[in-house]
Structures are given as structure tokens and as C-alpha cells.
């Protein structure tokens, strides 16, 4: 059964189309990912689904409730972790969660127990009476995820949940998030521009310039790009190339002194290749398509282009800061 159902959703801001006629369904108890570069329309879509924005046209339903007309019902059914921290840093972890429990009308006799539960769940129980301003980025994120779960929502929205976290915190957070659908029957709707994070999703929609350009399981999307790519280095590329082309009746190309060809099952091609060209082989490797390749093929650009440049600008400003203070 679909718990989120979106049809022909469009959102325009002063003539700029942020979300362009998108439609998708999310099955209950699954992890659904929105993958796309910054500015693709991911956050706008989340804001419409969680009733903070009205769409220009189209419809969106969560757990059977209309996101435009029954915003109160929708809000009860969802939990959200926004891209930027939305905690009160001057309150303790516990106070932040109690605030949330009151807002969502959690029964008074279950409130404390429930807050303690989610705190243990994200491993912050020992720190519950500390002010949030003393927390690290990873702890804040975990606390926000915990907060989003207090009222046991059917759907948990995570907008770039690991942005700004160190690799270890990211891994921990993913382990935790990927268990939620199974352990607590929570459907996850997440956005990310990290390819490796999108791999945990059951289904992914790739979004670029406000449009969904592909949708499916990670495997389906990768298969659509083509098979695996086998790279071979030999002592005699020209002849080896001809022989392999004859063997598979496939086009073999050459780049940086390496021959490469794409085949359905790379692993089974290798023995045949070696048998054919024998001792001339220097090395063989197989590259499996990544979501990055999917994105590259669909949009003609890599998803990281933008990200590296913003990361570079951070590094640049850190350097400038150091120069001033040395």
C-alpha cells in the first residue's frame, strides 16, 4: 500500500519552477530516496509534503490525508528532520523532546517514558540533561531523529540527514536509520546528494532541475545504465583488441593505455578474455556501475561537481582565516 502518493506536483516561485510536474508513490515500510544535486527541488518537495508550502498545482497525500486540505492530520502522521538544526540550543536534550511531546499531544502518563525510550534509542540517554549547545553535530542530528520519532509517525522525513557530519557519525546514523522500517514500521522519505547514502534506499527517484528523471530500485537504475565494465591492460593492445572484439562481437575501446568493454556479467567474461589473449594480459579489473554513473548518463554531469566547488570554498575560507591568524 502506498503511504505517500504524489501526482503532477508543481511549485513555482516567481516564475521559476522549483518542482516540475513530479509524480511518485512510496510503499509503507520502505526507504525512499530523493537523489539530486543542490537546488534540484528536493527540499521544496519535502516542504510541500510536510504542509509548510502550498504547491502551485498537483496533489499530495500522506497516509490517505490530503497535504493541502488536511494539514493537521498529515502533521500528526509525520516526523521531520530538517536540513538545518531546529533544536533549541538553550534547552537540554530532554527539554527539547518534552517540548515536542507536548506539541504533538502525547499522553501525559506516557510522555516521560516515551522520551526516555527515544533517547536510549539514539544513545543519548546519558546526556539527556545537557544543554544542546554542548552537543556535537552528530549528537544534534541523532537527537533530532529521536525527536521526530516521539509521536510514532508513520513517515519520517530526513532532509540531507548527514550533511556536515564526520564519516563515523554518518555511518552510525545510517545503521540506525536503516533499521527503522523493520523495527518500528516507519516509512522513511529522505533526500541526499551522496550517492553511497542512496544505496540504502529501497527505491530512489533521481531529481534534477525539478523533474524526476528516473525512478526505481538502486539495482534497476544501475542496470539501466548498462552492464559492468571490464578493463584490461595488455602487452599488445592493438592485437588483443581485435581478438576480443571477434570473441564477443562487441566494441572494445581504449583509454589511457587500457582496453575496456561493457558486458552483462563482468565476472564471467574475464576467464574467456584471459583464455583468448593468454599471456599478453597484464591486469584485469571490473567496474560495476554506481549511482554516479546513472546520474552521469541521465544528466550529462556528475552530482559531485557542485559539491566539490562548495567544499573548496570552505577550504579556501579556512585557509584565509588561518592566514589572518598566524
Amino acid at each position: 500500500m502506498s503511504i505517500i502518493s504524489v501526482k503532477n506536483l508543481t511549485k513555482k516561485f516567481n516564475g521559476i519552477t522549483a518542482v516540475d510536474n513530479i509524480s511518485f508513490e512510496v510503499e509503507e515500510g520502505t526507504i525512499f530516496g530523493f537523489l539530486g544535486p543542490n537546488g534540484a527541488g528536493k527540499t521544496t518537495t519535502i516542504n510541500i509534503l510536510c504542509t509548510l508550502l502550498s504547491p502551485t498545482s498537483g496533489s499530495a497525500f500522506i497516509a490517505g490525508h490530503d497535504c493541502m486540505k488536511e494539514s493537521s492530520e498529515v502533521r500528526k502522521a509525520i516526523g521531520i528532520v530538517f536540513q538545518d538544526t531546529t533544536l533549541d540550543k538553550d534547552l537540554t536534550a530532554y527539554e527539547n523532546l518534552i517540548f515536542h511531546a507536548y506539541l504533538y499531544n502525547v499522553a501525559k502518563n506516557k510522555m516521560r517514558e516515551q522520551v526516555d525510550n527515544v533517547l536510549r534509542f539514539v544513545d543519548l540517554y546519558a546526556r539527556k540533561d545537557d544543554l544542546v549547545k554542548k552537543f556535537s553535530g552528530g549528537m544534534k542530528r541523532r537527537l533530532e531523529v529521536a525527536r521526530g520519532l516521539i509521536h510514532w509517525p508513520g513517515v519520517l522525513f530526513l532532509d540531507e540527514p548527514t550533511l556536515g557530519l564526520d564519516p563515523q557519525s554518518r555511518t552510525n546514523l545510517w545503521e540506525f536509520i536503516s533499521e527503522l522500517p523493520v523495527k518500528h514500521n516507519v516509512t522513511i522519505f529522505m533526500t541526499t546528494h551522496y550517492m553511497e547514502e542512496a544505496e540504502v534506499c529501497d527505491r530512489i527517484a533521481i531529481i534534477d532541475n525539478g523533474k524526476i528523471i528516473a525512478i526505481g530500485t538502486p539495482d534497476e537504475l544501475k542496470k539501466a545504465v548498462g552492464g559492468e565494465i571490464v578493463y584490461i591492460r595488455t602487452t599488445d593492445n592493438a592485437n588483443a583488441r581485435k581478438e576480443i572484439e571477434k570473441l564477443f562481437r562487441l566494441n572494445v575501446s581504449e583509454k589511457n593505455g587500457e582496453l575496456y568493454l561493457s558486458c552483462e556479467m563482468g565476472d564471467t567474461c574475464i576467464p574467456e578474455i584471459i583464455r583468448t589473449i593468454g599471456e599478453r594480459v597484464l591486469s584485469v579489473r571490473v567496474q560495476r556501475p554506481t549511482l554516479n554513473d546513472v546520474f552521469l548518463q541521465l544528466t550529462g554531469k556528475t552530482i559531485r561537481e557542485e559539491e566539490t566547488s562548495s567544499f573548496d570554498s570552505v577550504k579556501e575560507s579556512v585557509r584565509a582565516y588561518r592566514r589572518r591568524h598566524e
Binding site: 516561485f13 510536510c50 504542509t51 509548510l52 508550502l53 502550498s54 493537521s72 492530520e73 502533521r75 500528526k76 509525520i78 521531520i80 530538517f82 538545518d84 538544526t85 531546529t86 533544536l87 533549541d88 540550543k89 538553550d90 534547552l91 527539554e95 518534552i98 517540548f99 515536542h100 507536548y102 506539541l103 504533538y104 499531544n105 525527536r147
Partner: protein, 254 residues
């Protein structure tokens, strides 16, 4: 209306108020400066035979100032909440916008009434003799004025997105509201244009009502400028107008 939500919005504000010792300290220090330094200085310029002594005359005005500052500060915290993202947590909750506005208005009311009461407790130092009934009346007026100014502050906060706008609010709204409220000088002695502006200022009526309660028998130029009925009507009507505007302003979706 969601009472749980209103309660917790007020509780949060109150907790933060108690925790921030410096905020409490400056909230009390400011009126003391006005009362004992500015008041003492200006009182030398005011003839002694005009009615209540000047240091006593400004007492209701300084209570009004305490309320003005703390109510606006409390409501302006909405801008901080927007800036630091916490407002989103409130806005996506299944809570009506009206409850949020009421919660914020009551937060401001409670916090500033408390501060006003602390200043009010200084009355013996200024040579006043107030009956219990008078004290109760002043506290009641303080609460009503606090509510009114807090709702006004919420309306302000909905129009400003970042805290850089705070100095604009401070210089162009709070200070003129204070100076044109009958706090420092009787409204009836103001030049025509300024008197007109003072009459549009809700704080004027709040301070005037306190003058009624604190020196009820003073009929000269230092006494109240309006009737108590006018004061009450002005406070109630402006509160209703502001709360409706604030509710509407919060409701809008982009």
C-alpha cells in the same frame, strides 16, 4: 485551541527567562536607572507645586517601560526562533497558528508582568503609600498591558526575518513608543502632532490606567490624561486587533 501546546510554549519561554540571569538583571537595572538617576535629575527642573513629585510621577511610566521592553523582547524571540530554525519545529507540529500566537502572547505577558511586579515592589522607596487593592489593580493593569504589547511585538516579529532588523525595531518603534506614552511627561502638555501620535500608542493608555490606580486623587497636569473607561477600551480593542493580525500573519503560506 491546543492547551498543551500553549502551555509548553509558555513553559519554554519561562524556563529560558529564569536561566538567562543577565537578561533578568538588565531588565531590572534599566528601570532603576531611569527611576533614580534620570528621574532625580529631571525632578530638579519641575516646579514642586504642580502636584505629585516628578520622581513619583514617572513611576507608572517606568513600570510601563519595563513592560514595553520585556514584552517586545519576548515576542521578538520569534525572530530568533526563525533565524535558528526552531520556529520550523513549531510550525510543522499539528498545532493551530492561533494557539502558537496565544502561547507566545501569554509568554510575554507572564515574563513582563513578573518584571513589572519587581519594579512595583520599589514603591515604598519613592515615598508612596499603596493599599493592597491599589497594588492588585496595578498588577491587573500590568498583565493587560503586557498582553497587548506582546501581541503587538508578535505582529512586528512576523514582518521581520532576521535579527539584524532588531536595531530598527529598537530605534524606530520601541524608543518612540516609550517617549510618546505619557511616561516622562503628561500627554496633555505635548505639542499637537506628538499628542496625536501618543493617542495612537496603546502604551499611553496602559500607563494612564496605572496613573489612575497609583495616584487616583491627582487632578492637576501630573494626573491621568484620559478616563479609565477610555484606557480600558483602548487596551482591549488594540489587543484584539493585534491578535487577529498576528494570527493572520502566521497563517500565510508562501
Amino acid at each position: 485551541m491546543e492547551f498543551n501546546a500553549i502551555y509548553v510554549i509558555v513553559a519554554r519561554e519561562f524556563k529560558k527567562f529564569i536561566r538567562e540571569k543577565s537578561r533578568l538583571f538588565s531588565a531590572i537595572a534599566r528601570p532603576l536607572l531611569w527611576l533614580f538617576i534620570v528621574g532625580a535629575g529631571i525632578s530638579r527642573l519641575v516646579p514642586r507645586d504642580t502636584g505629585v513629585p516628578y520622581t513619583q510621577f514617572i513611576f507608572p511610566g517606568i513600570i510601563g517601560m519595563t513592560i514595553l521592553f520585556s514584552s517586545i523582547f519576548s515576542s521578538i524571540s520569534i525572530i530568533w526562533d526563525k533565524e535558528f530554525g526552531f520556529m520550523k519545529e513549531i510550525l510543522v507540529a499539528p498545532v493551530s497558528r492561533f494557539s502558537i500566537v496565544i502561547g507566545k502572547a501569554l509568554s510575554g505577558t507572564i515574563v513582563s508582568t513578573l518584571q513589572a511586579v519587581i519594579i512595583l515592589a520599589l514603591f515604598p522607596l519613592l515615598g508612596f503609600k499603596l493599599s493592597l487593592l491599589q497594588i492588585m489593580a496595578v498588577i491587573f493593569i500590568c498583565a493587560s498591558v503586557s498582553f497587548c504589547i506582546s501581541t503587538f511585538g508578535i505582529v512586528l516579529a512576523t514582518f521581520y526575518e532576521s535579527y539584524e532588523s532588531f536595531s530598527v525595531i529598537m530605534n524606530f518603534i520601541i524608543m518612540p513608543m516609550f517617549f510618546l506614552s505619557g511616561a516622562m511627561y503628561p500627554v496633555r502638555l505635548l505639542p499637537d502632532i506628538l499628542r496625536l501620535v501618543a493617542k495612537l500608542n496603546p502604551l499611553t493608555y496602559g500607563i494612564d490606567a496605572m496613573k489612575h490606580a497609583i495616584f487616583p486623587h491627582e487632578a492637576g497636569p501630573m494626573g491621568p490624561d484620559f478616563s479609565l473607561t477610555t484606557d480600558a477600551a483602548a487596551i482591549i480593542i488594540t489587543s484584539i486587533i493585534f491578535i487577529l493580525i498576528a494570527g493572520k500573519a502566521f497563517e500565510r503560506k508562501k
